[in-house]
């Protein structure tokens, strides 16, 4: 009988090509996801005279640079931006990599597209030149973000040299309260462990509150693992996962499905498996969360007040809070509930899936937006599904803009940003200085909380607006 192993350990072992004596492992990459920012990696591949080793293992879709007000790529006025967007399809045609281009209903944000197409599966190793690749771990895959040079390496060799990360288990037990979502769970976790709290570790999220999350909620939790510094985040596959994966385009079918399922059932961490670190939270204690500062760790319950810098444990932290509040234009001691906002963004690889849009629509229904607000679905398929359910009508009737799929205002490299000084309630993943535009003040919230902010014009405890 072998030692009890963690899920991470099991997946890692199955992907070792070479174990070198100096502690490096050549790890096989099952599936590789690409986007319009992968431009440099393809160009580099040509420069070094290499070909894509296994094109059938790579899938691309333009997302970062695509406009979300139109599907007319030719209308992009910036030549370089247009080149980046159109190069994804060109690189696909040149190399044999499958690409879902603008105009294809499967186009969308890479981390929405992967699970949606059944490209993301339990037990796989997956990489993408984007830090939010941790998202895919929600299906029980080992998935992590890499840099452009590493993307070239994976294209050429279908593998990566890695040192084995440490393991960490974060257990959230108990029942989440009314109105509490995966977004609130992950913000509460990051507030507790810090933005560098999990550096060098692969997180496994466990516990009854995690098990009870839908696939969408799990994807949100794993998505923000990187904001806690983690190498990856993962959740053991279970019936929720299998039901989600079954029947998707690139998922196994028939006898292959049965064989896969049989193996997937052996993936969860064994009883008695040990982790290098453990952290736990009580699910029942988590409230709707709002970030107040310029790091995702600066998160607090909607019922809290803006912190006093003097409450910080040391000078560096105190100065950090002072700098963050100066940028955010906030006064210590102000109740978060009631702070005025200027704009709302609902979208991003964190929160643009169908359940996210349903939760936002539930709050918006029958109300009017008090500030300019956007909803940007994560893929063309989600857009269609939301329209079939009438969600687009609910948003548009409230005066909220219903847009096309893309990363949009989460990163703003397509030109979609806020204005200097604007305060945005955003369902994205980063509240860094300048992230949504120079001088823009970002506050991270769940889709329901963003919708509550949209219809009231202030941060508002969504539990007061939701029908019981």
């Amino acid at each position: 009988m072998s030692q009890p192993a963690t899920m991470f350990e099991k997946i890692w072992r199955r992907h070792v090509v070479v174990d070198r004596q100096d502690g490096y492992t050549l790890l096989y990459v099952d599936r590789h996801i690409l986007h319009d920012g992968s431009f440099f990696a393809f160009e580099r591949l040509k420069q070094v005279g290499q070909k894509v080793r296994r094109p059938e293992r790579s899938f691309g879709t333009p997302d970062h640079y695509v406009p979300t007000d139109t599907r007319n790529v030719a209308a992009i006025s910036d030549d370089r931006q247009r080149l980046l967007v159109t190069s994804m399809a060109r690189h696909g045609a040149e190399t044999g990599v499958t690409v879902f281009d603008v105009g294809d209903r499967r186009q969308g944000i890479v981390h929405v597209m992967g699970p949606e197409q059944g490209i993301t599966l339990p037990g796989l190793t997956m990489v993408c030149g984007d830090s939010h690749t941790s998202t895919h771990g929600a299906l029980g895959a080992l998935a992590f973000g890499i840099g452009s040079s590493e993307v070239t390496h994976v294209l050429a060799t279908q593998s990566l040299w890695q040192r084995k990360p440490k393991s960490m288990r974060i257990t959230v037990d108990g029942q989440l309260g009314f109105g509490i979502t995966g977004k609130d769970v992950i913000l509460a976790i990051i507030a507790k462990m810090g933005a560098a709290g999990a550096v060098g570790h692969v997180i496994e999220y466990a516990g009854s509150a995690i098990r009870a999350l839908s696939m969408e909620g799990r994807l949100t939790v794993c998505n923000m693992s990187i904001e806690g510094g983690a190498k990856a985040g993962m959740i053991a596959p279970d019936d929720t996962t299998y039901e989600y994966v079954r029947g998707r385009q690139f998922a196994p079918k028939g006898a292959a499905w049965d064989a896969a399922l049989n193996q997937w059932r052996s993936l969860p961490s064994d009883d008695g498996a040990t982790f290098d670190r453990e952290l736990s939270l009580a699910g029942a204690d988590i409230a709707p969360m709002v970030t107040w500062g310029t790091s995702p760790e600066d998160a607090a319950p909607i019922t809290a007040r803006i912190p006093e810098p003097s409450s910080a444990p040391d000078i560096a932290k105190r100065e950090g809070i002072e700098r963050a509040l100066a940028y955010q234009g906030l006064t210590p001691g102000t109740p978060i509930d009631g702070i005025k906002i200027d704009r709302v963004f609902i979208g991003s690889c964190t929160n643009s899936r169908i359940e996210d849009l349903r939760e936002a629509a539930k709050v918006v229904k029958g109300r009017k937006a008090a500030v300019p607000s956007w909803v940007v679905p994560g893929s063309g398929i989600i857009k269609e599904q939301a329209e079939a359910e009438g969600l687009d009508r609910i948003f548009e009737d409230a005066g909220i803009e219903w847009r096309h799929a893309g990363c949009s205002m989460c990163i703003g490299v397509n030109g979609e940003t806020g204005k200097p000084g604007e305060r945005i309630a955003s369902t994205s993943n980063r509240n860094f200085v300048g992230r949504q535009g120079r001088g823009v003040r970002t506050h991270l919230v769940s889709p329901a909380m963003a919708a509550a902010a949209a219809v009231t014009g202030t941060f508002t405890d969504v539990r007061k607006l939701l029908p019981n």
Partner: protein, 201 residues
């Protein structure tokens, strides 16, 4: 990739923690289709005002720091986005070495792919170096990668840790694609086995 052996140069103090890659190179510069020429965009939102004029208070706009080749900063340097534009911008400005107590994983790896040494020193020593550099603008730090030592403006030499493989690649300016291609037989063997054990992938 340029080799990295020893380096003596002006070190700039950036006394902040959690310096994210959006700070290192903001979004408006990501529309570039070249890896080079990003030095002017380094730390752009802190370095320039809305009109593109230099902010005189920002460290890299102050006299000797314009020629900095080393950057000293706080914990969790390079967190956030995986954009490799961050090390490209540092390198194009002339920074070959960053010194901090800790780094985010992706940025840390990206540095090595571009001939930049992301050195880890204990926080008290980093804080000491930051103080020296703020008091003595233009002071130099000497890095000896083969010997794994770093000498501050105070003359104090510290040993630093670095993974032997990454050290070897930096000193020799090696790109690891070439090394990996030598493992072709092992990759092929892995693929043959996996085709049987996990045929659905």
């Amino acid at each position: 990739m340029d080799k990295f052996t020893t380096l003596t140069g002006v070190a700039a103090p950036l006394n902040m923690i959690n310096v994210d890659t959006d700070k290192i190179i903001p979004k408006n510069y990501l529309k570039t289709i070249k890896r080079t020429g990003l030095g002017t965009a380094l730390f752009a939102e802190m370095r320039y005002d809305e009109g593109g004029r230099e902010n005189p208070d920002f460290v890299l706009n102050k006299g000797p720091f314009r020629n900095a080749t080393i950057l000293v900063s706080g914990e969790n340097f390079g967190c956030g986005s995986s954009r490799e534009h961050a090390p490209w911008a540092l390198l194009d400005f002339g920074i070959r070495c960053v010194i901090a107590p800790s780094y985010a994983d992706i940025f840390f790896g990206n540095c090595f792919k571009n001939g930049i040494l992301p050195m880890i020193l204990p926080e008290p020593r980093v804080n000491e170096l930051l103080r020296f550099l703020l008091e003595l603008p233009g002071a130099e730090i000497t890095v000896d990668l083969p010997a794994q030592t770093v000498t501050g403006p105070d003359g104090k030499a510290d040993a630093f840790e670095i993974d032997a493989f990454r050290k070897h690649c930096l000193i020799n300016g090696l790109d690891d694609i070439g090394l990996t291609l030598q493992k072709e037989a092992a990759i092929k063997a892995y693929e043959t086995t996996a085709a049987t054990s996990r045929p659905w992938v």
